[in-house]
Subunit: 137 residues, 2 copies
DNA sequence: TTTTAATTCTACCTTTAAGTAGTAATTATT
DNA sequence: AATAATTACTACTTAAAGGTAGAATTAAAA
């Protein structure tokens, strides 16, 4: 009952990138060391984030990562979709297919509210909003 | 972001057992066929449920499973704990250790409400309550 | 006492997530 | 042109979840 490590790390990485204000790019080594995320795993994750189009990478010396669009326009849910962690409407708590009005599982009704709150949390929160808050490690 | 298959199946199995009113015991073959759960996987799951003390098994011919205590006294959460799926208080959405008042993650505050709703749902719902509802497959 | 129908146990197989290793490609600097 | 610093790619390893196979155990019934 939790997000994949990839999603958790990706959100933390991008939230950290928002706060980072500097002329030079943020690179994998620095992200790995400050966020305590294994270097090789971090680069693997970032490669997927880059492919998704949220982030741009510059290779070679002095390279690193930066946002492809303003963090105020990036919803947390966009990060989850990269790793197939987005909460789908049709997926219910007991894993039964087609759990809806006609035929619904024993916990269907009680599941609706927490599900919608989570969907709302992920779909409406922007990176910009959440970045200011909290600690990163 | 979902329960393990073991927890999902176990809840569905026990909920079905509540509705079953018959002189003879419910056995693995019948449960497997009516709930469309792989037989061998189901017996593995039930062995753990029996070990937890929620259910009693009778071996040998005409054997099967029945509740060790009334379903009205069994909370859904007791099933989750068998498979380590219970939602822990200290566990937060971004997987950071010690995410609390002092140092909390970027989504900590928004996570509280859905988390508590889920905990409430699992901790307060009894098997008896949820069994009447919904379809089983 | 043998047969039969049931659970239990031990061990394995498969798939996926998580993490690691090494090399290739790219780019700024010297 | 060489070097150093960076990401990308390919492939592997490890751990856990999900699932399967077969033999052992149990107990009712013939």
């Amino acid at each position: 009952m939790q997000l994949s490590k990839s999603s958790q790390y990706a959100i933390r990485i991008l939230a950290y990138m928002v706060d980072y204000k500097d002329s030079k790019l943020l690179n994998a080594t620095e992200l790995s060391e400050t966020l305590l995320i294994p270097y090789k795993f971090l680069t693997k994750i970032m490669t997927e984030v880059v492919k998704s189009g949220l982030v741009i990478s510059i290779r070679g010396r002095d390279g690193g990562y930066c946002f492809a669009k303003p963090p105020s326009e990036i919803k947390v849910n966009e990060i989850l979709t990269i790793f197939n962690d987005s909460i789908k409407d049709e997926q219910c708590v007991l894993g039964i297919g087609f759990c809806n009005g006609m035929c619904k599982c024993a916990l269907h009704d009680q599941w609706m509210e927490p599900k919608h709150l989570m969907q709302k949390m992920f779909q409406e929160s922007t990176l910009e909003e959440i970045a200011g808050r909290g600690c990163k490690i």
